[in-house]
Symmetry: C2
Subunit: 249 residues, 2 copies
């Protein structure tokens, strides 16, 4: 069974489940893969606050707990639709906690999968833009993961980075506060940031926070391929559970 | 915790979760209610086939099993986003199985909630149209539930009923085969059926199959209020778990 760690944020969990269903070969209810979503956000400290050092409590133990609960009801392949949770200060601790608990789940790494996808689909790409929370950015997880594949990660300038962070976290217009529909202000900030990265030479741009694909659904902007790690994670999870059920690209 | 019985069908489960999130007062991830979705469609026989007598196996034991699994991971308020599952030949057996297993979950009854909502919001309504699968229709569950509140349920003529059933189940263009996006053919059949019921005197119309709101999102067509039981179920589940989190209508 597929297990989805929801709540980080709730709508990103839903978006991942929708993409898993969309990418599954199915023409009846019964054709779909078994899946559990566990969305218990109240107990999971904010990832960005922790990564930036504003909050002491790591979300890692709570995330590991959710994964173990999913495993207890049958999940064998698990994904976390939150880029920030894949930064080593969080993800490495989750892996340790799972190992200590004797977990046998296959925990798919969204950022490794996204980098591998970009490299495999476009072997000649040199510069890839990344939009993310400031916390994810500061851990350098995308820069390192892309760098290992010979790709330069291009991040926005400071002012644009702050606007991206606001599009996600602003308590009035941010996507975490208003997800369905997303506010025009949040979408506008993200579109500006995409233009900014394209002008600075990004050949493709990764939407490196799972709230961003709720606002940006374009697959191409100008010449730049827009890469959605939630979609890549969805496909990787199907591949790990039952590759015959995976729709062709 | 809220528990959602998914897989009947998978996208209807997702639609219910989206509506629960949408109807929750929340401006951060952590404000959202705890929720589990368990979508294991392969083990749940088709509800309509059973109700029409085409298949011998009742979906009730498998649905009860999912509810017990949700309860085991902490669900206290559970909903099944499938109208057909609320027909007495299925729902009564689910209740019996839960009682025998000593379950303490609050299982919200979507059709009772929908009928109560219509009565409370529009005390003067006399005739309410119902679009549903042929299986749900033949059990008379909507006619009985509305009838107890002094409302006449109006069903489509035979040819239109068959078109509605096709919009849901057709292996080529039906919503269960193509949910995201729904095909124009499925939406067209449902819009025709809505017009048909309005012409015959329906003052409001209940979308009495959880696949239908995936195609019809209008709240009003002509003078007729369009009633979405998935939305009503979402609100009822929040009310049962934590009424302070329920957004005003």
């Amino acid at each position: 069974m597929i297990g989805v760690v929801g709540g980080v944020g709730p709508y990103a969990g839903l978006d991942l489940v929708a993409k898993i269903f969309d990418q599954t070969e199915a023409s009846t209810d019964q054709d779909h893969l078994p899946l559990a979503l566990l969305s218990v956000p109240a107990g999971i400290p904010d990832r960005t606050e922790f990564l930036l050092g504003y909050a002491k409590d790591s979300p890692a133990p709570a995330l590991a707990r959710v994964i173990l609960d999913l495993e207890a009801i049958g999940a064998t392949v698990v994904g976390i639709p939150c880029n920030s949770a894949h930064a080593p200060p969080i993800f490495d601790v989750i892996r340790e906690e799972l190992a200590q608990a004797g977990s046998r789940v296959k925990l798919v790494h969204m950022i490794e999968e996204a980098a591998e996808f970009v490299r495999a689909m476009h072997p000649d790409l040199r510069t890839v833009g990344v939009l993310s929370t400031t916390g994810t950015r500061q851990t350098g997880v995308y820069a390192a993961t892309l760098g290992r594949r010979g790709i330069d990660a291009l991040m926005p300038d400071r002012a644009v980075q702050e606007a991206v962070h606001g599009a996600i976290y602003d308590p009035e217009y941010g996507i975490k506060a208003q997800s369905n529909p997303v506010t025009p202000a949040a979408r506008e900030s993200l579109l500006n940031a995409l233009d900014h990265l394209r002008e600075r030479g990004a050949e493709a741009i990764i939407l490196g926070c799972t709230e961003i694909p709720l606002a940006i659904t374009e697959k191409l902007i100008g010449d730049a391929m827009i890469v959605d790690p939630t979609l890549i994670l969805a496909r990787a999870m199907i591949r790990e559970l039952d590759p015959e059920k995976l729709k062709p690209l």
